[in-house]
């Protein structure tokens, strides 16, 4: 497929002909060039060394060759495109294998068609794609090491949301939001948005709790000097910290810790405050 001057070059791989057609129409309407394949061997033949496509929308439940196997083959191509996995199989094992094989994002079926257009428009380029190192990929203990780049917040949040697929939506949303806030803090303040520096993330799941630990490469911070954060505001002046941020030349914000504290049950920092644990307790039924 020829290089597109505007949109992305996308390959849709799904054995559902109707879905392939809908996605192709939608993505072409958004200015992308789209090819499609109905199974893994056809997809691999079209991909060649990978250089003809920027992005692959890949179903996992394909006939004759699993989407996860296709993903593994793509990873070893000379010019691997980004792969967005889309599947109705939301088991932890599938998701973790997709993470291990460097899937860029994960979309659970069924999804509103517009969600695919959004994810495609937000995706980076294959050349800029950063790798995630998977240290442990057990459902009850996921541990990864990721570069301190902002795109990781989106990528990892999408996996976290789906990793806890069996929890009530409100719990998943709360945990995913809190996780994203803390991860963004780690990437921005601890890692200075430097992709050569790494943030280490562990997710531990038991029957009664979810625990996330985020360790950033920074030196930590002194909470008494956080006048640029909303948590230090007096009750009657919820915007005081914004003046401090303006004076210090910081972007508007500073609500992350205040939000996170309200979204989870426990938030614990180490002494240096460059590692943090968030805990969400689960009811028996969850």
């Amino acid at each position: 497929m020829a290089q597109s001057p505007f949109g992305r070059r996308i390959l849709v791989v799904d054995d559902d002909r109707g879905l392939r057609h809908v996605l192709a129409e939608l993505l072409q309407g958004a200015g992308h060039q789209v090819g499609s394949a109905g199974d893994g061997p056809e997809a691999l033949a079209m991909l060649g060394d990978g250089s003809g496509f920027d992005l692959v929308l890949l179903d996992i439940g394909l006939p004759s060759m699993s989407g996860l196997d296709v993903l593994a083959r793509i990873r070893h191509m000379a010019s691997p495109p980004l792969v967005i996995v889309m599947t109705a199989d939301d088991t932890s094992a599938t998701l973790l294998e997709a993470v291990r094989r460097q899937a860029y994002r994960y979309i659970r079926k069924p999804f509103p068609p517009s969600a695919v257009v959004d994810v495609v428009s937000e995706a980076g380029t294959p050349a800029s794609a950063l790798s995630i190192e998977v240290v442990s990929a057990r459902p009850e203990w996921l541990e990864i090491v990721a570069p301190c780049a902002l795109e990781m917040a989106d990528r990892l949040q999408s996996f976290v949301l789906h990793l806890e697929a069996n929890l009530p939506e409100a719990v998943r949303e709360a945990v995913a939001s809190a996780f994203r806030e803390l991860l963004t803090n780690a990437i921005e303040w601890g890692g200075k948005f430097d992709p050569n520096r790494k943030v280490r993330i562990s997710c531990v799941r038991t029957k009664r709790l979810l625990l996330y630990r985020i360790a950033d490469p920074g030196e930590g911070f002194d909470i008494d000097k956080l006048r640029h954060a909303a948590i230090t505001n007096p009750d009657d002046d919820p915007m005081r910290h914004l003046q401090v941020r303006e004076e210090q030349g910081l972007r508007p914000g500073g609500f992350g810790l205040a939000m996170t504290r309200s979204l989870v049950d426990d938030l614990i920092y180490n002494e240096a405050r460059n590692e943090v644990i968030l805990i969400k307790y689960l009811d028996e039924g969850e």
Binding site: E181, M239, G254, M259
Partner: protein
């Protein structure tokens, strides 16, 4: 994020569609409101119904631009916040800062019934 802009009298309605998060929407909102303030448009209603995700940076930008507009003699009011947006505004105690409306007509009308307060 996409911002659709329209006028009702001297009130500008900004319909926000998509994510209002760090470097994904917050800068578009900043630039849109800065331009309106430069043009003297300082009676603003932000329709939040189609904001799909909001993070602390997005909230920070909302509040920062609220201050910008107030300093220019106007104000920002919020329309149709989702349950989630409402919850985050509550957590961050910003429900005491923004006037929030469930219908557009009331939001627009409110600019002519209560004079904007100075900072």
């Amino acid at each position: 994020m996409q911002v659709i802009e329209r006028r009702i009298g001297d009130v500008t309605i900004l319909q926000l569609i998509g994510r209002l998060e760090l470097e994904t929407g917050d800068l578009i909102l900043r630039d849109t409101i800065n331009r309106l303030v430069e043009d003297g448009q300082v009676k603003l209603v932000l329709d939040m119904k189609e904001v799909t995700r909001l993070d602390s940076a997005g909230i920070g930008m909302l509040v920062s631009k609220y201050l910008t507009v107030r300093r220019a003699g106007g104000t920002i009011k919020l329309l149709h916040p989702t349950e989630r947006t409402d919850h985050l505004m509550d957590i961050t105690k910003l429900t005491t800062v923004f006037q929030v409306f469930d219908d557009e007509a009331s939001a627009v009308k409110s600019f002519n019934t209560a004079p904007a307060q100075g900072m």
